[in-house]
Every structure is written in C-alpha cells, then in structure tokens.
C-alpha cells in the first residue's frame, strides 16, 4: 500500500515533466498538460456527482440551517484570518477578525450566527497562502487538484499548514471528525455554486478561464485590493 502510494506520487511528480515537453506550458502554469489531465478527471465528477448533490443540499435543507453552517465554518476561518493578520503585521485587521471571532463565538452561539457582520465588522479573509505572498513568495506553479480545485504551490502549502493546525484535527473521534470535514467541504462547494455556474456560461475553455480567474483573485487578495499597476501588466 505504502509502496503503491509512493510510486503513484513519483509518477505524479514525473508526469508534468514528461508532458511538459509535449505542449508549450506558460510561466504561470508549467504543468499545464498534467493539470489539464487532472481537470479532465475533476470535471465529470463535479458535474454529474457533486453538483446534483449540492443542488439537493440547497433545495432540501432550510435556509437558516445552511446559513448557520456557513457561519460556523466562516467563524473558524475568521480565527485563521486573525492569525494571518498577525503574521502579516496587519494590526487593524487583526483587531477586526479577533473581534469577530469573540463576538460570534460568544453572542453568536459558537459561530452559528454572524452578529459581527450585522453590526458592520467586515471579514478579513486572510489565509496562509496570502501570508506567504505578503512575505514575498511567488505563487509558484499553478496546480489543479480534482475535487479540491485550483491552487498553486504556494497556496496549496498554505492549505496544508491550515489543515495541519486544525481545529477539526483535534477531535479525537474519527467519524465525528470526518463528518465535520464533510460538512465543511459541502459548505465550501455550496458557497462556490454561483461562481461555477458563471464559469459554465462565460468560458470558452473552462480550464483556462478558472486558472486566470484564480490567479487574478489571489493577486488581488495578497494586495488587499490595491494591486500595483505593473503587477497587473505582468499577468
């Protein structure tokens, strides 16, 4: 099993190198042929399995429950946003995000109600990938991971740090932990539903459209909305 896994990883690592010779990869996406293969795996599963499931989730769960679930996971994200505000030295945002977590965890019943947004404290939306960016790390190669979606070496590393830190990982009961991960994944995909529909309507080549949108979005986030003009030209 372990040996199988290792050879699979080796293959996965070698494939982009081999395939890279066949097609002209771009600077942002040196592993494009490999990523496209991964996207080809992802797309039918997402369209025929994940999307009907998410549609059913939207249809059959009452809106207040869905909102409470989103709020619960957003509250955890806000805590990590605060940590990243700290790592980036953004004091005001740190205060905002910590304030949000405190208010929503207490008055908001453990994060189920987003009282902070109702009183106008905006979410910081920082994460480890952005922190690495602020520290001066480039995105590195773009990656498309089936079921997970678009990312890059830098942002993916951020995700690994995030998953390692938890907090779901600290739940000792494995089934409970898996249910939490599962609901979190459903919620994340549910929140992305409109964007996915938009890509279907807008894109000539969904893979390329998603890639450019992802990279634009992340650049914007790293600069908190004020991307220097020469960086924009770079793209």
């Amino acid at each position: 099993m372990i040996r199988n896994l290792r050879s699979m990883l080796l293959m996965a690592a070698a494939m982009p190198l081999l395939a890279g010779c066949a097609m002209g990869p771009t600077r942002d996406d040196p592993f494009e042929p490999f990523n496209r293969a991964m996207y080809a795996v992802h797309e039918p599963i997402d369209t025929h399995v994940v999307r009907p499931f998410i549609d059913a989730y939207a249809k059959y769960t009452p809106a207040p429950l869905r909102i409470a679930i989103s709020n619960f996971f957003n509250n955890i994200d806000d805590l990590f946003s605060a940590i990243n505000d700290g790592l980036q030295g953004k004091r005001d945002k740190f205060g905002n995000d910590m304030g949000r977590v405190t208010i929503n965890s207490g008055l908001g019943l453990g994060g189920l109600i987003d009282i902070a947004s109702q009183i106008g404290v905006e979410r910081g939306n920082e994460d480890f990938g952005q922190t690495f960016g602020v520290w001066g790390l480039d995105q590195g190669p773009y990656l498309f991971i089936p079921l997970f979606g678009p990312t890059t070496v830098r942002d993916g590393s951020g995700w690994i740090v995030r998953l390692y830190l938890g907090p779901a990982g600290y739940i000792p009961d494995v089934p409970t932990r898996n249910v939490i991960y599962g609901i979190g994944a459903i919620d994340a995909r549910y929140q992305a539903q409109d964007a996915v529909s938009f890509v279907d309507e807008a894109a000539l080549d969904r893979y390329a459209f998603i890639r450019r949108a992802y990279l634009q979005r992340r650049l914007y986030q790293v600069y908190d909305g004020n991307v220097p003009p020469q960086k924009k030209e770079d793209e």
Binding site: S70, Q191, L204, D205, A208, A213, Q216, Y220, E235
Partner: protein, 201 residues
Amino acid sequence: MSNTQRLSQAVLLAAAFFATAALAQETPDALVKRVSQDVLETARSDPKVQAGDQARIHDVVEAKLAPHFDFSHMTALAMGRNWRAATPEQQQQLTTEFKALLVRTYSGALSRYRDEKIEYKPFTASPSATDVTVKTLVVKSGGGAPVPIDYSLEKTAAGWKAYDIIVGGVSLVTNYRDEFNAQVKSGGVDGLIKTLKAKNG
C-alpha cells in the same frame, strides 16, 4: 414643408440636444447607480424575469445595460496585440460575438439574482478624469461573502461607457485574454470567431 412640421422638427432637435447634454453631464458613478438600480428594479418587479424567462431577461440586459458598454473597446482589450492583426471585418465579427457572449453571461448572473443589495463606494476621481473606476459592493442577504464589483469607464463622445467589470479582483476582460490568445494561436482569428459563434450557438 409646413410651419408646424418645421416647428416640431426644431423641438425634436432641441430635445435630442438637451438629452445628449444631460447624458454628458451625468457623472460616471451616477450613471452606474442609475443603470444598476434600473436593471435590478426590473429584475425584482418583472414577473417574467422572476419566473426565469431567459428571453425576457436577455431583452432587459440588451435594452437597459448593453447601451452603456463599449463592446469594441472590450473586445480589443481581450484580444491584446492580436486585435491589430485582425481585419476590420474580423474585428466587427469578434465584437458582435463577444458582446453576445457577455450579454448572455450577464443574463445568467441576473437570473440568479435574488435580493442582494448594492452599496456604492465613495467616488473619488477628479472631474476632469476621462478614465475612471466606480466601486460597488454587492451584499448578499443569505450570509454569503459580499462581492466587490468595480466598473471601469471611459469618457467618449456618446457619454461614459464601461469597458471592464472587475468582480472580486477578477477583471472580466483580462480573464478572456488567455483564452483568446490560445484560440488565435491554434486557429487564427477566424478560429476564435468560430469558437465564439459555437459557444453562442
């Protein structure tokens, strides 16, 4: 030509003149506000739009929104340096097809619109500016993340015209650049026109 006819012509001309003058004076942020309120008001009140009638939604977008966009400018930006390689005829075709795609895409987004509210950020450009960004924030009622939507507008002889929409930092025009470039590389400008036509089908 009778005097009455002449008079009515003069009145028409004057009316047209004042309408244009008013249009030219409208600030870009006021324009964005007026047009988006108008479109959303229709989306909220029109029973056919509410029922998800795609043809009707399409008509609303075409009539109320499209006149305020400079589609040829948008197409040129999305094409990048390939724009100059295209003949005037090809440019015309590209603009027609790209416009159709954008109108349809926007119609799709509008049909998913429920009861989001739009906040208009303070507008800071100087009165003499000819290229401005109007910032808005779309706040969803259902607890979803608010989405910043910025409009890039340029002053033209026919008033302010939008040439890009930036949603959460994603420029629509920039987003098409890779795709257009790849299509032109593999199939030439005509290949891109063909792909756009097929998509609009």
